[in-house]
Symmetry: none
Subunit: 415 residues, 2 copies
């Protein structure tokens, strides 16, 4: 289509309006639309009320190509999205036996009773195309409106919504709305926006008018996105720009769009045939969680020890009580003995150890909250670095974990 | 005033619509409004466009008592909120010398040059009452509309917005709108929305017209909120309703508003003077992360072992190779030996062990993806249960972790 696709996002639910729930669904959808070159014209959170939903749909329909609603599809009686859409479309609800069979099939092995509330989930407004939900009981819904307009209704449970959007909705939208937009994203770690932009500044100035760079910082990494909107721009030129951008920041690139640091490190460990062990104190298992969140991580991860108490550090990692008494649990000496301890465990080739003061309490003038020691290496050599992070406990845990992943990645690459 | 105050929240900014910024401002405002008993009727994110802003203001004005906009007050040229409000009100902009003097006074000590962009910040739509901003250059704005309606415009910088809302706006609103709203929230775990609503259904039908129940499901737990809006309802009656609701679902209640399951378990461990150890396989450290995410958890958590490989299960938890060979890593026998292994570690009084098939691969007909064994107990007695969860790896990890927390909580309480 000629004009950019105009999209409206509607999140339905009193829990959003009364501040009980932070609406991250529309945030995810807005990011996804932008990556496709779709234009999000409005994001509206409205109550679980038939009139409010119907009014909103009528009001945005004239200027919308695509309307996406999330929420209000659960079995409890305050969920009213389907009735509202039926009223908006002027159609009846019908009972869908296949959905009842599917839900019963899901519940049987888990001995969950099929109730009247669940039966309500099997009614749908007419003319719907159901989008199969592999992660929950409520299917997504798709309606064709006049002028190729589309109305889509997705459940509010974030992981179900994301699954339906990515696997069911997006392929259909892409088939209908082609975009002249080209994106290229580099995943970087080990430095911030400011350093990256200073490296790219001169080159950025000379970009074609239709191209731009976006810096998208996230915890412990920055996504660098090159976007070119001109369909006329030759592919060869776009490829050249990609190569130039990557070269300028090559020291910090760990992958391309979508790749996470744990994935990048996992691929590297697989490639080098090395196996990882972890010794965590202040990160308390979060680093291990990042690693094991990746399917197939058992191929390169043996396991870890969360040595939260000094007794665990001594008994399981062999940290000497002298070291703990002399230098403290948060010290170069302790964190090195921790990594050496995990490297002694069966099958462990490379290791990471982390010990620090996550906060909010436990800081001292010499070791303020946010002081974190990280050790990494293999049986031959181990290294330790000290970092001072923020005042927020969870941020310190997350920063330290991502920071340590990048340290080991560079160690494995000899950088 | 008789009716509850109707409020609309408008966040202005392209960065929200294109997914570069998660709008947490309206979330904060919605929470604050709810605490006051104000009714948020809509939360709308709209672009930095004069027409879009004027249209939205005109559209909601008839049903609004209070309209709050955030964003679009900065010095950069895409910030157009003030011009749009002037157009909506049909008034001119005027230059406010005191604001220029104030900004120059702020900049002088920091040697920041006063630019033309900053000068733009000194123009305001007529009839405005300026709300002094102690944390930034852009003051908040307040306009009286007909019928006691109010239009409020705040900067988008979260800490400036919060300061102006809390210290400048809220006192004025409270003086004008008194609330009669009462809330009571129960935190439940161990069952879903459907079972809870079936337990409460009959009682819910008999609630006073001014009272209602909301089911707010989250991973592994459901928040149950009772809301009563009638100021005439006697406090004793409200207390009775609270007690009735809690009694009907008592088997699933682990706390009140805001308490998380890891916090509830932590409080229980502190109270009983018991210390926790964890042995995780498929959850890969996530359970340990949940526990250590709580400040002060070192008082009742010694540590854990992430035994991802069988070698780790044998070496660190003492699981026998016979057991692993005969019954497999995902079995009652293995998970019981895992929990017994962690209970042998220094200072550990109670333990949880988890072993399962998180997926997406590794399933078999007898042990499909989502099959998870959880063992828990103390040195005297250990118990094991098998659960069948979903097809999603991360969900299985998260469900299993929360499920196991609730199992240990009930064990400690002898439930």
């Amino acid at each position: 289509m000629a004009h950019p696709m105009n999209c409206y996002l509607i999140s339905i639910g009193d829990e959003i309006l009364n501040g009980q729930t932070l609406d991250t669904n529309t945030y995810f959808l807005a990011q996804s639309c932008r990556a496709q070159g779709y234009q999000v014209r409005g994001i509206y959170s409205i109550p679980d009320q038939l009139e409010a939903i119907v009014d909103m749909l009528n009001q945005i329909k004239p200027t919308a190509d695509v309307i996406v609603t999330t929420g209000g599809l659960g079995p409890t009686k305050d969920d009213i999205t389907k009735k509202s859409i039926a009223a908006f479309l002027g159609v009846e609800m019908f009972f869908h036996q296949a959905t009842e069979d599917r839900i019963k099939g899901l519940f049987a092995p888990r001995k969950i009773p099929f109730t009247e509330e669940h039966r309500q989930q099997c009614f749908f407004p007419d003319h719907v195309e159901l989008l199969e939900n592999n992660l929950g009981t409520a299917p997504g819904m798709w309606w064709e409106l006049e002028d190729q307009k589309v109305l889509i209704s997705l459940p509010g449970v974030p992981y179900e919504m994301k699954h339906l959007w990515t696997d069911r909705v997006m392929p259909r939208l892409q088939a209908r709305w082609h975009s002249s937009l080209r994106n290229f994203t580099l995943m970087t770690a080990g430095t911030g926006e400011t350093v990256l932009s200073s490296l790219l500044h001169e080159w950025e100035e000379k970009l074609p008018a239709s191209c731009s760079i976006a810096y998208l910082p996230d915890l412990g990494r920055v996504r660098l996105r090159l976007t070119c909107r001109d369909a006329e721009l030759p592919e060869a030129r776009f490829e050249q720009l990609k190569a130039e951008m990557e070269h300028l920041v090559k020291d910090y690139v760990f992958g391309y769009e979508g790749v996470t640091l744990p994935e990048a490190l996992g691929q590297l460990l697989l490639k080098q045939g090395k196996s990882l062990g972890l010794a965590e104190s202040c990160t308390g298992g979060y680093l291990s969680h990042l690693i094991t969140g990746i399917p197939g991580s058992s191929a390169y991860y043996n396991g870890g020890i969360v040595s939260y108490s000094n007794a665990f550090k001594e008994a399981l990692l062999g940290v000497s009580s002298d070291t703990l008494n002399t230098f403290g649990a948060v010290s170069r000496e302790t964190v090195l003995e921790m990594v050496q301890g995990i490297l002694k465990q069966p099958g462990v080739d490379v290791g990471i150890a982390i010990s620090g003061i996550a906060g909010p309490d436990g800081g001292t003038p010499e070791k303020p909250v946010g002081t974190i020691w990280i050790a990494y290496g293999d049986k031959k050599s181990q290294h330790a670095v000290k970092i001072l992070f923020t005042k927020s406990r969870l941020l310190n845990i997350e920063y330290a974990a991502y920071y340590s992943l990048n340290l080991l990645r560079k160690f494995l690459l000899g950088l």
